[in-house]
Symmetry: C2
């Protein structure tokens, strides 16, 4: 049984204001919950069905408090239309690292708004071994339950931090790390020789990379369109573009 | 003003059953509505704000019936949480073409369920000049308003048809078109020399390509993961994978 006050707390975690107030975030979905249980994150409370709890007792024991519930109880508390078998309430960790290393290929998100896109990009980072994802302060919050949901557990393995672009651009400058960004007027990415190590900037869904950031980006690239019709898609979805750009950087590294 | 019965009709168009019953589909969002007005699709009814109607009178005149409404009226009828300034009701065209040409790079979707993924893949096709998208009968319906929404107008420029895989695989065989598919156990796509013309199969979000289809696919490819951690993302989002695969085919064609 999940008490009324607890349900109220859980529902409130869809809002950043309450996540910050309580210092908590919500993880839903069997895969996400399993991933967080084996990660370095702390799990304060686990709500799960008997089947889920019995599926892997070793990892379940990582939760500080375990509550057996049935699916209809879970449904009452869930933020999902079709909840699965588990949810976890976890403390938002205090960030210990202030300066990202920039030792490998790194992405910077300049104002991504859609939590689904943000989560999908975290999953892309995980796939391509990109350990560091840096976001502008106005980018979607990683602890938004929709971001967690779309990341499919990858949020446990990618370090995510928020900082203004000028700061990270300054650091890249000091370390002589080239800064790339995707622009409509950029050069064809297929024609470029891409370095193994770079900072790659992706912009907002509607307006792209901000003017301020644009001025600090040395290498402007684009994924060329092959549509020969007069009218064509204006752009690719930003998560798809992120996937293609990461793939091309990694393909070139791999092919060297 | 949009009458009660019309609102009921509009809302019903989120269900395939009613789209089939009335032979109609709904297009929302300013970009989508503009695109359909300049396309070969017929627009039976246009509901739009004064600003939208005045923005481009030439294309507006393509609608058979034009209704000026305000934003709160539009909000009542809309399926979107944040409706924009226009919606259109259009007849579902009777498909005239039964056999796809397979003359260029073509995608086949084997059971894609999420309308957002389907719409994003249509947008990818448009971007990469892929004119033909073929879907298994159990793939999401292109006239689902969420598919239309995510396609950002690209549904007007990509031919979409539904047919069982054995039929299209048979046709590919006759025409000697190679058939590719993405599989976890596939060969590294970056190592393959890809042809300009191929049929590329993408599978369902959860289960991948069906067993039946798998047996008919000659070239099994994968996008390699670069994550060196013990645990890593199990897969990429299918629309991201579609984007990367299309990009790699087109990059190789372009580089020849």
């Amino acid at each position: 049984m999940i008490g009324k006050n607890k349900i109220k707390l859980i529902k409130s975690l869809s809002f950043k204001k309450y996540r910050q107030k309580y210092g908590l975030f919500l993880v839903e979905g069997d895969k996400n919950v399993r991933e967080i249980l084996i990660s370095d994150y702390q799990v304060n409370e686990l709500y799960a069905t008997e089947n889920f709890l019995e599926s892997d007792e070793k990892i379940i024991s990582h939760a500080l408090k375990i509550n057996k519930v049935n699916t209809s109880e879970l449904k009452k508390a869930s933020l999902l239309v079709q909840p699965q078998h588990a949810m976890a309430i976890c403390p938002i960790p205090v960030s210990k690292r202030k300066i990202p290393g920039l030792k490998k290929l790194t992405l910077y998100l300049d104002g991504i708004q859609d939590p689904g896109n943000m989560g999908t990009i975290i999953r892309i980072c995980d796939w391509f071994g990109i350990e560091e994802l840096i976001c502008s302060p106005c980018t979607a919050d990683v602890y938004n339950p929709k971001v967690i949901q779309a990341s499919m557990g990858s949020f446990c393995r990618v370090r995510i931090s928020y900082m203004p672009f000028e700061k990270i651009a300054g650091l890249a400058g000091e370390l002589k790390i080239p800064v790339f960004g995707t622009f409509i007027e950029g050069v064809n990415i297929y024609k470029e020789i891409l370095p193994d190590n770079a900072l790659v900037v992706l912009g907002n869904e509607g307006c792209g990379i901000s003017k301020e950031a644009s001025q600090m980006i040395e290498y402007k690239i684009k994924i060329p369109s092959f549509c020969k019709k007069e009218e064509s898609a204006e752009s690719l979805n930003v998560a798809v573009a992120a996937g293609i750009v990461c793939s091309e950087f990694k393909r070139q590294t791999y092919s060297k």
